[in-house]
């Protein structure tokens, strides 16, 4: 995987965005791309939480490692 601080920061920010979207779906404030137009959407919230975790993991992989 390409290592760069810029990429790592970008993926970290993406992770935060996914976390916010997950929270909005979980409390029912976000209704985009859902089959019912009211209430919380736990399936969507879980998906974006997983995407957030994946983004944070990818950010850690993209971070240049210092030699010990």
């Amino acid at each position: 995987m390409t290592k760069s601080n810029g990429l790592a920061v970008g993926l970290g920010v993406l992770g935060v965005v996914f976390l916010v979207i997950a929270a909005l779906y979980a409390v029912g404030l976000l209704q985009i791309l859902t089959s019912e137009n009211s209430g919380p959407h736990y399936k969507h919230a879980v998906l974006f939480a997983v995407l957030a975790v994946a983004s944070f993991v990818a950010a850690n992989f993209a971070r240049p490692k210092t030699a010990v």
Partner: protein, 277 residues
């Protein structure tokens, strides 16, 4: 239904296709529009996922440990860590497509005729996977053939993502999730048994996740929870037995018999439905 779902979920013959066709042919009173149908399916899937977790319990412990170690370190250093990351990469496309498309696709194609038609397509897909694989192996003995192919941990990340995304094809009733993922694994260069193992490992988080998020629906009034739990247990037992059988079968077996079965079952179902069975 529990036995049918548990057995057909892991065999490359489409559980959804069978769940649509068989009740229709046998005049069972399952209606997908019934409010208690979703909780029923949820419990059956939880039964299947539990069976897969029990079957691979040791591997899941290593995979989960490998995931956290690699994620925190930011580096992959062994096969378990690589497999954990491959499963994450393979699960994401399936999860995205599942959340946004599953309901729409299933409601569009939930007809016994369509399911029987796609079952025939699934059969040709299985034969196609094997044909492609066999062409690459011409002139080599059966044992040698398998030894030239890789273990699940060696699949590329791009291939894992593509195999994972292929799971979305299984939203079409008649197309088998395990069939397309095993076939995808074969095209990516895995041994048959390893392709089946990767398929089952990949299916576990998706089936389990889809089941768990629907659990609140189980507590609605009018859901005969006792009967549904009994069906889920049967589903789990059937899934466990199916997985054990398939892993043994794929040491030397191929997808062809399942392809032929799907084509025959699809055509017979179409004929029976057409002539008002």
């Amino acid at each position: 239904m529990g036995l049918l779902q548990g057995a057909s979920e892991l065999f490359p013959v489409s559980s959804l296709g069978h769940a649509v066709i068989v009740p229709s042919l046998l005049h069972w009173s399952f209606k997908q529009s019934d409010p208690s149908f979703v909780p029923f399916l949820v419990l059956l899937h939880l039964g299947t996922a539990t069976a897969l977790l029990v079957l691979y319990r040791d591997q899941w412990v290593v995979i989960i440990r490998g995931f956290f170690t690699a994620a925190i370190r930011g580096q992959i250093r062994n096969d378990a860590e690589r497999l954990a990351m491959l499963l994450l990469v393979g699960t994401i496309p399936a999860a995205i497509l599942g959340v946004f498309l599953e309901h729409r696709i299933k409601s569009l194609f939930a007809s016994p005729y369509v399911a029987a038609g796609f079952l025939v397509v699934n059969g040709f897909l299985m034969l196609g996977f094997e044909f492609t694989r066999r062409r690459a192996e011409r002139g080599v003995s059966r044992e040698e053939q398998e030894s030239h192919f890789a273990q699940a941990e060696r699949i590329s990340f791009v291939a894992a993502a593509i195999v994972g995304a292929c799971q979305a094809l299984a939203f079409l009733p008649g197309i088998s999730r395990s069939g397309v993922t095993i076939g995808g694994g074969l095209l990516a260069g895995l041994r048959h048994q390893e392709a089946a193992r990767f398929s089952f490992l990949l299916a576990t988080p998706v089936i389990l996740g889809a089941g768990i998020v629907e659990v609140p629906g189980l507590f609605k009034s009018g859901v005969p929870i006792g009967e549904y739990i009994a069906a889920a247990v049967l589903s789990g037992i059937a899934a466990y037995a199916s997985a054990r059988f398939l892993l043994r079968y794929f040491r030397s077996g191929r997808l062809d018999p399942y392809g032929i079965y799907c084509i025959a079952a699809g055509l017979v179902s179409l004929a029976l439905l057409e002539f008002g069975w």
